[in-house]
């Protein structure tokens, strides 16, 4: 079987699990984003797959071969570090070819590969520069080039965009996506920025506290979160989480809230945040602050009753946070009635 398989991958340090029985599969040519808050285990996952950190249990299988016990240098994985980790004392060309040189690749072949990669990434003019003389975007390309020159069977990227400014980040996204997927190998991409994950990845795996919460296409995560954590983590502005009632908790996305004539939650406008095509209204209500989307062209009401279509509500079990399969329309009505009083 081609592709990457993480089979019950577990990593414990001093008895504390950093990764707990992680199950993931990435197909060749697929880009999977690992998304989660800091400390959720996404970087650890990458390091374990690369072989930089040992795993305590489980298997890592790449193209049908168990690579769990191999040295990092033998795994043929390309990795781009958050800091890029370019060797500061070497030129771009030396940075790219250190690995092949150490492995004794003939210099002719090495030069050929180098030229190819430099061309692919448009780095020809920079080959004799040192990392300190490069811009952030150029460094990122060099780091990517170093990973690609290895002819990797798997690409790993750890927040490769986080050192770039916001504008550049957006500009580079399509090109990066093209480069990553063109190799036809699986790609694991760590980020904490869901916009980036949505823009780059085919599927997203959401991690929290070392556990896989949900994996799926962005749309699926958004519309059909398996638990409260994923619902709260995916989607901006964040979902509105209502006070629990009768052992369950309802949540409604900001885009699903709208003003109603009657049977709504009474709210007062606190602040309207303009964001180009839309505005986000922050509304004070008996349920706390609510977020509601509003057309940019219309002035927001200072006071209004707010409701939603009952089928748009998501219901979670209060204690475990697990998603309840059905969200009865009566629950929404009960909640609104309760909050009205």
């Amino acid at each position: 079987m081609r592709g990457l398989l993480l089979d019950h991958v577990t990593r414990q340090v001093d008895g504390r699990p950093l990764l707990d029985q992680l199950q993931l599969q990435v197909a060749p040519g697929e880009c999977l984003a690992l998304l989660g808050p800091s400390g959720c285990g996404k970087t650890t996952t990458l390091r374990v797959v690369a072989g930089l950190d040992p795993l305590s249990a489980g298997r890592i299988v790449l193209d049908g071969q168990d690579i769990s016990q191999l040295d990092p240098g033998q795994r043929r994985v390309g990795m781009v570090f958050q800091s890029y980790a370019l060797y500061p004392h070497m030129t771009v060309a030396e940075n790219l070819t250190l690995g092949p040189r150490i492995r004794g690749m003939p210099s002719g072949e090495r030069e050929e590969r180098l030229a190819q990669i430099l061309g692919l990434l448009q780095l020809e003019d920079l080959r004799l520069r040192r990392p300190a003389q490069l811009s952030g975007g150029q460094r990122q390309r060099v780091a990517l080039g170093r990973a690609l020159l290895r002819q990797p069977r798997l690409m790993l990227l750890d927040e490769p965009m986080s050192n770039l400014d916001a504008q550049l980040r957006e500009e580079l996204r399509p090109e990066l996506r093209r480069l990553l997927v063109s190799g036809g190998h699986p790609v694991l991409y760590v980020t904490h920025d869901q916009q980036e994950a949505v823009g780059l990845a085919d599927r997203i795996a959401v991690l929290d506290q070392g556990r896989l919460q949900q994996v799926g296409e962005p749309r699926e995560l958004h519309h059909n979160p398996t638990n409260r954590f994923v619902a709260g983590f995916i989607g901006r502005p964040a979902i509105n989480l209502f006070p629990p009632q009768g052992g369950r908790q309802l949540a409604v996305r900001p885009e699903h809230l709208h003003p109603v004539e009657q049977d709504g939650i009474p709210t007062t406008l606190m602040r309207a945040e303009w964001s180009g095509s839309q505005q986000v209204l922050w509304l004070e209500s008996p349920a706390g602050l609510l977020r509601m989307l509003w057309p940019a062209s219309q002035p927001p009401p200072t006071q209004c009753l707010v409701g939603w279509n009952p089928e748009d509500g998501l219901a979670f079990e209060e204690r475990t946070g697990e998603r309840l399969q059905r969200c009865e329309p009566s629950w929404s009505r009960d909640l609104i009635r309760f909050l009205e009083e």
Binding site: R47, A50, G51, L52, D71, P72, G73, Q74, V77, G78, M79, F81, Q82, S83, Y84, A85, L86, Y87, P88, H89, L98, G99, I102, R103, R146, R150
Partner: protein, 264 residues
């Protein structure tokens, strides 16, 4: 104002030596007429036995070889210490701190015994062994602190590039340690240039003396004799190379000292 005072305090004894070195003997004791200024003192120490030139050369060779040897031993050791896991690392580090603090003069008798056993006395370069040994604790601690400050991603990247630990030491760590090696090396060089008790006990042939040993020999001639002009000329000549080293490399030296402080 305060700064001026500070400068006077730091430099007065040196300047006085400089002045003394150009005075004829009679002028020193407040007698004699004619011009008191002379270069005679310098001629004396440069042509004396041992010639001060020879002495300075000895010290310089010894200092350079000691520095090279110390770094050659300390860099791999610091890297090893950095990689060491478990209880060993803090234990060895504590031991090194203790050793770095220790007044090394107390070892002279045992070291002298070794010199006797192995016939090392009067071999200038044999002194590099105890000198390097005595400098190692500080050198290892400084270099380890520097290794600790290197971005850990660099080594991880090198592991992915397939470099084994020795190759990482050679290709990644050592080149990046260059600044730390420079400041550590300068401190080692200063220590070797200035060391007295071991040179005093290991070296007796006058053409092998180092600067401190030569100074000691001058001093022990007599407390009341007054060839102070030549003494002063010797101290000036003995200080000049170091003055240059300090003024040129002050940044490195201070960063070495500072690293030591922050680390310790």
């Amino acid at each position: 104002m305060m700064r001026l005072l500070l400068l006077c305090w730091s430099l007065f004894p040196l300047l006085w030596q400089l002045r003394t070195s150009f005075l004829v003997g009679d002028a020193l004791v407040g007698e004699g007429g004619g011009s008191p200024w002379t270069l005679q003192n310098y001629r004396l120490v440069l042509e004396g036995d041992p010639s001060l030139g020879r002495v300075l050369l000895n010290s310089a060779i010894l200092g350079l070889v000691t520095t090279a040897l110390t770094l050659m031993l300390a860099v791999p050791c610091a890297y090893g210490l950095h990689q060491l896991k478990g209880r060993w690392q803090p234990a060895i580090s504590m031991g090194l701190v203790g050793a770095a603090l220790f007044p090394t003069v107390l070892f002279f008798l045992s070291l002298l015994q070794l010199a006797r056993w192995f016939g090392l006395a009067n071999h200038l370069l044999a002194l590099t062994l105890p000198y390097a040994g005595l400098s190692l604790p500080l050198a290892i601690l400084l270099l380890r602190a520097a290794i600790h400050d290197l971005p850990p991603d660099l080594e991880d990247a090198a592991r992915l590039d397939g470099l084994n630990p020795l190759q990482r030491l050679r290709w990644i760590v050592t080149p990046l340690l260059a600044p730390a090696m420079a400041s550590t090396g300068l401190l080692v060089f200063l220590a070797s240039w200035n060391e007295y008790p071991i040179a005093l006990t290991w070296l007796s042939r006058s053409d092998r003396l180092t600067l401190p040993a030569a100074m000691g020999r001058i001093a022990s001639s007599s407390v009341y004799a007054i060839p102070y002009g030549p003494y002063a000329a010797a101290t000036v000549l003995g200080s000049l190379p170091l003055l240059l080293v300090v003024l040129i490399f002050q940044r490195w030296i201070i960063s070495g000292l500072t690293q030591g402080a922050v680390k310790g």
